[in-house]
Structure formats: structure tokens, C-alpha cells
Symmetry: C2
Subunit: 326 residues, 2 copies
């Protein structure tokens, strides 16, 4: 078990490190990455560390002008909207993520004599494309979807380049010693199954295929993706992340390949007091048992989305103890 966004604002020790330092500055500083990655392991005794990073880190490393603005999210200096913009998109040079490579190497060494797994991650091509095209976070993805539908050739060129960046970023992490990787397609849930299959699945499937030779478990996650679970499993991961809207036993009925499931406690449950927390944790475990009985390969306990910043870290520690006791 682990928590998405466990290395984050719910921890006072995280807020202390980040007090006077920007997100991207921290994401490119080896010592900070190591410290922030290990904080939730020390405090909560989760079974896995997730590399402290951000979805846009490989874009910035490749040379895309962007900032992460507090309260807003990534802001792209020159949004990518034309064929020429796409042609100008740089590739990712390994040397530009040397600080991250060094952090993974250090983390793998520190965790080598423990049972704690180290999980690497990257944003999926669709989610990266949405930031580049919209210029930042969006509620509608209207420009992204317009480009995708109107000019599939330019779209596929962009997605191909982003797939290359994602693959290279994951390979750096795998070469340096992560035990598993998670591909976050945070915003894929904005698409219908038919459009996901046409415009996104071939690229995400290539990401998984091109890191398959490492033999490390590959996790695929998005939020609001109930309608896409079949397709997201078809992309080839060993583990499929599920948000809280879809019971795990329902999720397993939607996949046509043997996968383990990850999830899916609603992160807002952690605000509702111990009685509710205990009941809902038990419900997820029961649901996971039902999913395994129905054919799921296994279950990784997690939230259905990231830890919310206001979460009491004591509640997170309690959930870890509870799950480990069950």
C-alpha cells in the first residue's frame, strides 16, 4: 500500500522544505528529491516510496518554457498549437534529468535493505499534450480536443514526440533502480472511449511496450476513467489504478486482460472521522477481495486520487496501520 501524492502538502516536514522554494527548483535538486520522497516512508511506514517529481518535469528538462504557479499549476510560456510548434518541440536528453537520475540511484540504495519499493512515474502523453496545448490546466480541454479531431496528423506527431519523452524519462528512472513505474494520465477521463482508443491508446500503449523489457510492474492511472478502464488495461499495464467512483469488483469486470488493481479509497473519506475511515477502509479491502475472487491478479491499497493538502497526516498513518493489520 501507498498513497498517491503522499510526498506532499499534507506533511508539515514537506511544507517546511518547500516553504521558500519553488516546486520545479525542488524537482531538479537531488538532495531535495531524496528527502521529500522518503518523508512519507519514515512517517507512515507505507510499502512504497513514489518518486517526488511533477508531471511537467521532463518537459521542462527537454527545454519547454514553463513554470509551476502556486494555486494554478503548470503555465506554459508558448502553448503548442500549430504544426510548426510541434516540430519545434525538443527531445529529452538524459543529461538534463541527471539530478533525478542521481536521486533515484540514491533512493534505490537507501531502500535496498528494506521492504519498501521505489515507484517511478511519468505523465502520459495525453495529459502532457493537454498542458502544452491549453497553456496550463483546463476544465474543458477545448483546444486539445479541437487539434486532436481537426488535425490528427499534427496530433499524432505531437503525441509521438511526447511518447518519446515519457519513455526516455521512465527509462532513466528504471535504469537508476526504480522497482515499478506509474503512468499518470490525469485528464484522460475527459475523453469518450471511442476517442481515447483513436487518439490516445496507441501512444500510451507504446509507452508501456517500450519499457516492458525491464520486467518492472507498470501501473496505469487516471481519474474519472470509469468508461476507459477496458481501454486503459488494453494499453498493457500490470496494474490498473481505479478511482472511487468504480467499485474494484466492477473494475475487474471491465478489463479483458489479467491485471492487478490499485485503489480506491475516496481521499475525502479521510476528513470524516475515525469511525467512517475504518468502515470505508474495510469496505475497500472487502471490495478488493471480491475483485480478486472475480479474477483480479492482486490489489495495491491506495486512494482513488491524490492525498488532499488539508489531510491530517495522523489519519494517513492510521490507515497504513489499519491496512497492515487486516
Amino acid at each position: 500500500m501507498w498513497f498517491m501524492r503522499q510526498a506532499g502538502r499534507s506533511l508539515p516536514e514537506y511544507r517546511a522544505v518547500r516553504a521558500d522554494r519553488g516546486m520545479l527548483e525542488c524537482c531538479f535538486d537531488t538532495e531535495t528529491i531524496v528527502e521529500l520522497t522518503l518523508q512519507p516512508v519514515r512517517r507512515h511506514h507505507v510499502d512504497a516510496a513514489i518518486l517526488f517529481s511533477d508531471i511537467v518535469v521532463p518537459l521542462r528538462a527537454a527545454g519547454v518554457g514553463l513554470e509551476i504557479v502556486a494555486g494554478t499549476g503548470p503555465v506554459i510560456a508558448s502553448p503548442v498549437r500549430t504544426r510548426d510548434d510541434v516540430h519545434d518541440l525538443p527531445a529529452l536528453d538524459r543529461a538534463s534529468v541527471g539530478a533525478i537520475e542521481a536521486a533515484v540511484t540514491e533512493l534505490a540504495r537507501e531502500l535496498s535493505d528494506t521492504d519498501v519499493a521505489l515507484i517511478g512515474f511519468a505523465g502520459a502523453p495525453f495529459t502532457l499534450a493537454s498542458y502544452l496545448i491549453e497553456g496550463g490546466p483546463s476544465r474543458t480541454y477545448q483546444r486539445t480536443k479541437a487539434l486532436m479531431r481537426e488535425d490528427p496528423s499534427t496530433w499524432n506527431d505531437l503525441m509521438g514526440r511526447l511518447t518519446n519523452i515519457t519513455v526516455e524519462f521512465l527509462r532513466v528512472q528504471l535504469d537508476a533502480g526504480v522497482d515499478a513505474v506509474q503512468l499518470f494520465d490525469s485528464w484522460a477521463g475527459a475523453l469518450s472511449d471511442a476517442e481515447y482508443r483513436t487518439y490516445v491508446l496507441p501512444h500510451s500503449a507504446r509507452v508501456f511496450a517500450e519499457v516492458a523489457d525491464y520486467g518492472a510492474p507498470r501501473i496505469h492511472f487516471g481519474v474519472g476513467t470509469g468508461e476507459l478502464l477496458t481501454a486503459m488495461a488494453d494499453a498493457g499495464p500490470e496494474v490498473l489504478g481505479v478511482d472511487w467512483r468504480v467499485p474494484l469488483a466492477t473494475a475487474v469486470s471491465r478489463v479483458n486482460r489479467p491485471v492487478a488493481l490499485q485503489g480506491n479509497l475516496d481521499p475525502t473519506v479521510l476528513f470524516a472521522g475515525e469511525t467512517v475511515v475504518d468502515r470505508e477502509v474495510a469496505r475497500v479491502i472487502d471490495d478488493a477481495d471480491a475483485a480478486i475472487a472475480a479474477g483480479a491478479v492482486g490489489h495495491i491499497f491506495n486512494l482513488g486520487h491524490g492525498v488532499l493538502p488539508d489531510t491530517d497526516p495522523g489519519v494517513l498513518t492510521h490507515v497504513v496501520e489499519l491496512v497492515h493489520s487486516m
Copy 2:
């Protein structure tokens, strides 16, 4: 066919009326309601007018201190978070929505010798509760869900009072002559099916039951509600709105009652040029035919969510002509 949020910022004539006037001011002015409701009928020749209003109008009419802040949405002066706050929530007095009643009366008269239907609307209790508890729009609904799970008694008291307000607001509209009503549960998609059934469905079902005697078609809609379609149909509407994530033919397989379907063109399709628009409109119509063949009672062409403000109104008019020609 009609478009959710057809009376809105996509129309230059709407922006002209709203240029120097706040949303709530317009929502309580009879002449403005009539004008804004009719604008899209005149321009697009849609088959239905949807009453120009806002989900929070009956709350404001009942005396809840709130504003609609441009770029943010509703902001509640004193969020409702305790048992005492709930006890203080006022009921809706018909006299306080007299301006809206007068607008519906006038609209019904103006449309009486046309084939254009007049649709009334109200926000569903869960969506109203989320605004009251969070104090405004939310991405997580963490306080709403915490109250719901931690204190079901206070929650049900709040939802009962909101149900009364919603029922009264819909009755005012039905008494004044609307031909149909739509209950918008905009944010219900944040819930799992199990929680929706426990905490929300009984209240929304009561809304539908208490306006059943008018014999007017009742439409139920939320966004991101693929997992909730069975339960939302169980609430009792004649028509179930579906967003673009769920094909209409899939939606009909999820309902256990005979319902017509409404939807479900992705509103972002309207940004992608005429070839894509025409193809996607045809796809929705084909999908609706398949849904009807599979048991849907009928189909109302609409978007899968509201018209986006940047939409070219010429494209909306084109879609109306196209659907009417098919």
C-alpha cells in the same frame, strides 16, 4: 433539440444585456429573464427554450446570503456546516420568486402559438448542498462529503430542506406554464453509486415524486455520472441526460426503467470545424437510433454539458439546422 446553457455567453446579444448587470440582478428581473430565454430561440430555432436562471436562485430567494462572482461562481456568505446552520436555513416563499413566476407566465404566453417548448429548471439537492457547505464551487467536495458521512442525520435534515425548496421552485414554474422541467445535479458525479443511493437518491426521488402530478416530462442530468445512470433513472424522471463519455446505446443498457435519453454531443466538438461537427452530430444521431432500438423511449438532441462561452453561435445554428434535416 435544445442546448444546455443556450441562453448564455456564446451569444453577443446575451453579452450586451449582461454587459453592466450582475447575474443575480438579471435572474430576478422579469423582462430580462424573458429576453434572455428567448434569444437562443430567435437565433437558433431550437425546439425548446430553457428558462434563464441559475441553480442558486431559489436559495437567494429564500434569503441565503450569496453572490455570483464572475469567474468564480456562487459564493455563500455564511457556509452551512452545523446542525444549527441547517436549522436556520429558510424555506422558499412563493412571493420571493414572483419575478420568475411572472417571466414564466409571459414566456408561456409568447410561446403558446409556436411549437417551442418551455423548460423550467432547478438545481438538485446535492448540488445545492455542496455550494452551501463548501461556501462556493469545489473540486473535491471534501466538507460536503465529510458532513454526509459523519452526520447523516444533519445531512438528511439539510437535504430535506433543500428538497422542499427545489420542489417549491419547480411548482412555481409548472404552475406558471413550463412544459417540462430539468433537475440539474451538476456535481453528483463526484459520488460513488453506493453513496449516491444512500445519501442523495431518496431526496432527488422525492423532488420528482412531488412534481409528478403535473404530468410534465421531468429530465434528470448530471455530468460525469456514467456510474450513476442506473440510480439517476431510478429517481423517477421521464428523460435521463447523458454526458459525452457514455454512448447513448450504453446508457440505455444501464437503466432499469423506460426513459428517453437526452444528449450527448461533447461541447468541445463545436470548436473543431464543420467536417468534424457534421461527423459527430451524425454519430450522436446514429447512437440515439441504436439506443431507441435497444429500448430507449426517445431522444432529445443536446450537448453532453453546457455550451462553452467561446462557442461560435453560428456553429450552434448550423447544428440545429443539421439535426432538423436528419
